[in-house]
Symmetry: C2
Subunit: 204 residues, 2 copies
């Protein structure tokens, strides 16, 4: 359903314009499909608004470059060529220059995640982008690679109007607490249940 | 989590290649956010595969052109200009030439939905596209504008390898039954609950 007017009126004293510009912190969690693709759909909307978007992939797939990455790169190129839309940067943890310490070795994934988060923090402080997609961000949190309290404080206190989308299963309650939107993608029926293999164009 | 190999092996006698190419019928339902944006993320993957994609919007918003529509139009233009990716068509019910019977009047929405579905049926029979996004398709079904048995039979028996994504709340059980993937986007926290208004770049 086209989602229009809010059913309730807030009593927070904000003006309509200020409320409309409230920075969103969106969490796509749950065991079902659609967490990352929904984040990519938001990147399309951001592109159309002319926003600067940065995608940080916290779990490196290693096996393939995803379709969404290349499609968003085409939109970024279109922006640079014609000025339409906004810029989109894609950072794959482990592949960025800051994250590979020894070029001949696989980078340490936990170190890579910490470096990526340090970069996101720096950019948030500098109000570098309008939209940040922190893809698969819940896993380094769950595995203790990142400090949850630091993450919550940084996101809660980020300056200006910077929207953040976080994807991944098992989002911690502390993160949901400070979110403006949290959705659980719940599996009703999953193709892998019936032995279906992942297929190009659908899963990546 | 990168979703890799299926946990179970199917005993359906299909070869791996045949199973990998099994046409997907994906349903994004539930009261939460992300149903349409996840479908748009799949359109990005389809574009990268060079597939032909058709988006049918079954509920006309009327008020604005969405960011995803214009971003996907840019990718379609890129395809036509350079040959990269695939073509993407966007059909907004009520705005298409076949759907407006009297140019000076608002088209009847139920008639527009029936015409749109007739066009989708025709294209499925002709194997015209690799991906169909039937956005907000559950509503004309729920309102009785379309015949559920006809829809189920058409989708179940569609020829070749044609993927279909359906979005909208309250997907009927008969549709979930024939789906390869069904996900319920479940609201954990919704911005409208706290009086937040929809904002550009996030909701459209």
């Amino acid at each position: 359903m086209p989602e229009g007017l809010p059913p309730a009126t807030a009593e927070d004293g904000l003006t309509q314009r200020r409320r409309r510009l409230r920075p969103a912190l969106i969490i796509n969690t749950g065991d079902g499909k659609g967490k990352t693709t929904a984040a990519m759909g938001l990147a399309l909307r951001a592109w159309h608004q002319g926003w600067s978007t940065a995608v940080y992939q916290f779990i490196k797939s290693g096996k393939w470059t995803t379709g969404e990455q290349l499609a968003l790169a085409a939109l970024d190129a279109e922006h640079r060529r014609t000025g339409a839309g906004g810029p989109i940067e894609w950072h794959a943890t482990g592949s960025g220059r800051r994250w590979v310490r020894k070029p001949d070795e696989e980078p340490d994934q936990s170190e890579a995640a910490r470096d990526a988060w340090a970069e996101v923090k720096e950019r948030l402080a500098g109000e570098r982008h309008q939209l940040y997609v922190l893809d698969e961000f819940t896993y380094p949190l769950a595995w203790g690679w990142l400090d949850l309290a630091d993450v919550v404080e940084t996101l809660r206190d980020r300056p200006g109007i910077q929207h953040v989308v976080i994807t991944g299963r098992g989002a911690p309650a502390e993160l949901v607490e400070i979110a403006t939107t949290a959705t659980s993608m719940t599996k009703v029926k999953h193709p892998f249940d019936t032995g279906q293999k992942g297929q190009a164009g659908i899963e990546w």
